[in-house]
């Protein structure tokens, strides 16, 4: 599964994109896995109220299932316009 990071999440994790092998079935479970892997992730996901997720480029919820997902993206609240 490909994971993308944007804005300060990208800066904290240290990469814009990475390939991850996971058996997590939800977004929340995936985040738990990442947090345990390295403190960069713990830092990036320390305030979940400021984290948004998209599954295959669709905004999603943290408890959304990951089955069949090819791309998961994490980013702060959007500030377009």
């Amino acid at each position: 599964m490909q994971i993308r990071y944007f804005a300060w999440l990208r800066e904290r994790v240290g990469t814009p994109v990475e390939e991850v092998e996971t058996s997590a079935t939800t977004v929340a479970a995936l985040i738990e896995e990442l947090r345990k892997r390295d403190e960069r992730y713990a830092y990036a996901f320390e305030d979940m109220s400021a984290v948004r997720v998209a599954i295959d480029q669709e905004l999603s919820e943290m408890d959304a299932p990951l089955s069949g997902a090819r791309e998961v993206a994490f980013f702060p609240p959007m500030t377009g316009g």
């Binding site: 944007f6 300060w8 609240p77 959007m78 500030t79 377009g80 316009g81």
Partner: protein, 149 residues
Amino acid sequence: MSVSVQQGDFDVAAEMAALRAGRTDIGAIVSFTGLVRDSAHGEEISDMELEHYPGMTEKALQDIEAKANARWPLQATRIVHRFGRLSPGEQIVLVLTASPHRHAAFEAAEFLMDFLKSRAPFWKKEGTGDGGRWVDARDSDEDALSRWE
């Protein structure tokens, strides 16, 4: 209906002319142009870096545009959003709406901007003396969005 996500600048006059070209049934055109400001929170801004999510951005913009067209009697709409490094005074975003009636054109343009502010995958980093700061999403932008629900 048409959206562009691009690094280069846009030409409001050319965009407006394209919207009107060859038709005489439009009564009202509203444009919104967003510009990079030279200061924020009393601090000077040297430049602005606009990051986005290629692929998702285009889909989000098309989705927003379709929602506006489903909700108001619009004859044409256009969204252009830039990314990359921009200087104060430069154009960031353009929204155009055309309708037989002014209220529909105004409302649709506000609706599109409210959605772009907090539902289009862009993130702004302001260049300040201490190396730059990611712009925080504002509660007022979420509030603005909630009035369309």
